[in-house]
Symmetry: C2
Subunit: 229 residues, 2 copies
């Protein structure tokens, strides 16, 4: 399948690498490809600049958000939460209509200090905001409750653990579940929470995730719902 | 030890029953004991009135919040979240000073429809509000992330799963951890998240917990942090 991955950060690179390794055609979307490739500094988390990664993954083209979205049969949003709606607006509604949109982003708000809070939160979610803004697109919120390396290699965490899907379209959730299985997720580990409103629940896992990372001292952990089956 | 359990609902009754079964002296606190005992209707969840439960558990005395708090060496808050600060105010700061206060309540807000949202949320938590209101009391937030039957009988959920503790006082968390072990929690299953600020994380687990209950159709499940050890 042809995938557009919006976002050039570590999550986007990790997802794009996995998709390409599975034989999919992958294009990464960014606001300004020239500017993205021209950056020579590590990002705020110490990850190398995009160009360094891209030199080793030249089969993955870098295009504008709109070009990438036009190319992709399925679109994956991996930007920072605060940038997601702008990226999708730049991608253009017409390029998203009728497609499955996998939303991995979290609405982390760094403006009130560390650890980040969430915005929106509680009575709304970023997943719902995206679905409302693009009503002709089939939004599936998933994978946002773990480190990106666990997303594409669940066996990094020993034992059974879970990934959640939230969305209005049953067929879209089925397609995304098949993708998750191809990533290495056992199908019983995929928990369908219901409609996109349930993204409030998974986005609100981030605060305890961040504090667990602090308490455990690493990010190779995940939520397992014991008693789910 | 002498325990005061504030709140006469299903959580308070379940905790009081467990504490009494372990040989502790237990008093339950309520606003107006006569009024509580006079109720003959089931509560909103269909649980029998308090008097029905009390007839089978007469060793547990029912007293005012203040009388109960004065009696208890350790105090447990099991009221609805919206009632917790009022109950503790009625319990009287002097009766709480220097004591360990176990906060099991969740700030569920039913005013915006179902499922409930949270208030406070995100940049504050009920656990922090209680600690700020009673600075001479050692607040430990715990057990608020599961059904009350799982709290006191963790083996209802097969396999390993976790309970979190949040609080400023290391000795208080140690005491509460020993209590949890006496409830049946294996000590490695108790995850110390850090200070009371981390109660934001565990209170914000409620939204996904509520949606999981809907998706699974039962409440005998719990969070297991896979990769924590």
């Amino acid at each position: 399948m042809r995938y557009a991955v919006l976002g050039t950060g570590i999550v986007g690179r990790t997802i794009a690498t996995k998709l390409a390794s599975l034989g999919h055609e992958v294009v990464i979307g960014t606001r300004d490809p020239q500017a993205t490739l021209a950056r020579t500094e590590p990002d705020g988390m110490g990850n190398p600049p995009f160009a360094t990664w891209h030199a080793d993954h030249s089969a993955v083209a870098l295009r504008t958000f709109a070009e990438a979205a036009a190319f992709g049969e399925t679109v994956v949003v991996t930007t920072a939460g605060a940038a997601a709606l702008d990226a999708l607006t730049a991608a253009d509604e017409a390029n998203l209509a009728g497609k499955v949109l996998i939303d991995i982003s979290n609405p982390l708000d760094f403006s009130k200090g560390m650890p980040p809070s969430l915005n929106p939160v509680n009575t709304d979610s970023l997943g719902e905001q995206i679905q409302r803004a693009f009503p002709d697109t089939k939004v599936v919120k998933t994978l946002n409750t773990m480190n990106c390396f666990v997303m594409v290699e669940p066996s990094r965490v020993a034992g059974a653990h879970n990934v959640f899907v939230s969305g209005e379209d049953v067929g879209a959730k089925k397609q995304v579940t098949e993708l998750l299985v191809s990533f290495g997720w056992p199908e019983p580990g995929v928990i369908d929470l219901g409609g996109i409103e349930t993204a409030r629940g998974t986005e609100m896992l981030l605060p305890v995730w961040l504090r667990l990372m602090g308490a455990l001292g690493h990010a190779d952990f995940n939520f397992h719902i014991q008693g789910a089956r």
